[in-house]
């Protein structure tokens, strides 16, 4: 691959999320000129009887490997504001890493606070301890077999509870390890990419 394509993908299900995505892209354009793709309801797999916008959004997110048109993808939640240069994550992928991701601000007792008790406990039990919580709202990934396996597992794990995707992400990482590079909070909730963590469930 001489010149990998790099692009940014959003998922916007419902009017509120679309408005957020538009504002996010406006912020992105101030210091980045990467291509952008937005996935909406029309990309939903019709065979899946998903009912809520949240379920559709998580289903699409955990299937992004198959949906993204880019060699190197940056996925950002619609409620983020990429105010800075996002290229260091792409450079990490070019440097040989499969994924670049950021840890959550909720660790320790607050880890996975938004996940149902059973799912949270079974996820920790799988590891034998409370793992480092990663934030799935900003992540860079490339195309290779490890990443494909990871996304396949992530989607399968998410389908078990069909709620938030973070615990499923940790179980996928356990079952299908990949080479991920950890970026700091400026890339998800800081100077490079602000994250408002807005509720966008409603249509």
């Amino acid at each position: 691959m001489l010149d990998p394509s790099c692009g940014i993908v959003y998922i916007a299900i419902g009017e509120k999320a679309k408005q957020f995505a538009e504002r996010s892209i406006e912020a992105l354009r101030r210091c980045n000129d990467f291509e952008v793709t937005i996935f909406t309801e029309k990309h939903c797999d019709v065979q899946d009887a998903f009912q809520t916008s949240k379920e559709i959004s998580r289903s699409l997110k955990t299937r992004l490997y198959n949906l993204s048109p880019y060699d190197y993808t940056l996925y950002v939640d619609a409620d983020t504001f990429p105010d800075g240069d996002v290229s260091p994550g792409f450079e990490t992928l070019a440097g040989g890493w499969d994924m670049a991701i950021i840890y959550s601000s909720s660790q320790g007792p607050e880890m996975m606070w938004h996940i149902g008790k059973t799912e949270r406990e079974l996820t920790a039990e799988l590891y034998g301890f409370r793992p480092l919580q990663l934030q799935g709202g900003v992540m860079y990934f490339k195309r290779n077999e490890r990443v494909e396996n990871f996304f396949t597992t992530w989607h399968r794990e998410w389908l078990i509870w069909k709620e938030e995707d973070q615990a499923a992400l940790l179980r996928a990482l356990y079952k299908s390890p990949l080479k991920y590079w950890m970026l700091g909070r400026p890339f998800n909730g800081g100077a490079v990419i602000r994250h408002t963590f807005a509720r966008m469930d409603g249509d």
Partner: protein, 214 residues
């Protein structure tokens, strides 16, 4: 004999006269009697390492590093591991826990860590959630580190407790790490650069592995 227990419901402990609140999932070291009491009351649980009985410990060991390093066995119930004192980082066992014993570590988790080396090359705890490499790096190292890494806004690892599976990738990693340090660079940023350029399957651990009150 003190043992580690994992708290299941909010529990107030005393440490050197200071009241500490432990939340579900936290680890606390108590006497064996108290551990049994807390487990019977449903407040905490004593970890069951027998779930790792499939794990062969004969290729596992602890490499002690740092001023207090010494060769003595480390007990990780239900087994004990051989140790070796090292002057510089190395991987003397096929599955090595590289540990600076001056850094507190929850040995109860060692079995879980060794178990994860079935799938991962290396496990490393995050050093700090707030302060990043750009905050820790010395002025002498800043330019070098900026050339070695795409960005310095990333967390450092705590090298005082690493779980390493010996293979070509990790052997190269440790060689590079030692080379960087030998040329005058700080150990923490050298480790980060060595990881970046060797690309192991690295599982990041929460800082609680080396800071029980995190």
């Amino acid at each position: 004999m003190a043992v580690w227990v994992q708290v299941k419901s909010i529990f107030y402990g005393d440490e050197k006269g200071k009241l500490i609140t432990y939340f579900p999932g936290d680890w606390v070291q108590v006497s064996r009697t108290k551990a049994i009491y807390l487990q019977n009351e449903g407040i905490a649980k004593i970890p069951d390492n027998t779930i790792y009985k499939h794990l062969s410990l004969k290729d596992c060991g602890v490499a002690m590093i740092g001023p207090s390093a010494e060769s003595k066995s480390v007990s990780i119930y239900p087994a004990s591991l051989p140790t070796r004192a090292l002057d510089i980082p190395g991987i003397p066992f096929p599955r090595t826990i590289l540990w600076n014993p001056d850094t507190p570590a929850n040995v109860t988790l060692f079995m879980a860590g060794l178990n994860l080396l079935e799938k991962w090359d290396i496990l490393a705890p995050i050093k700090d959630y707030e302060l990043l490499a750009q905050d820790y790096v010395t002025e002498d190292d800043r330019e070098w580190a900026s050339e070695m890494l795409p960005d310095l806004r990333l967390p450092l690892f705590n090298m005082d407790l690493l779980f390493i599976k010996k293979n070509d990738v990790t052997s190269h990693l440790v060689t590079l790490w030692n080379e960087f340090v030998a040329t005058g660079h700080a150990s923490d940023i050298s480790f980060l650069c060595a990881v970046y350029h060797t690309r192991p399957l690295l599982l990041s651990l929460p800082i609680i592995w080396t800071d029980m009150h995190a």
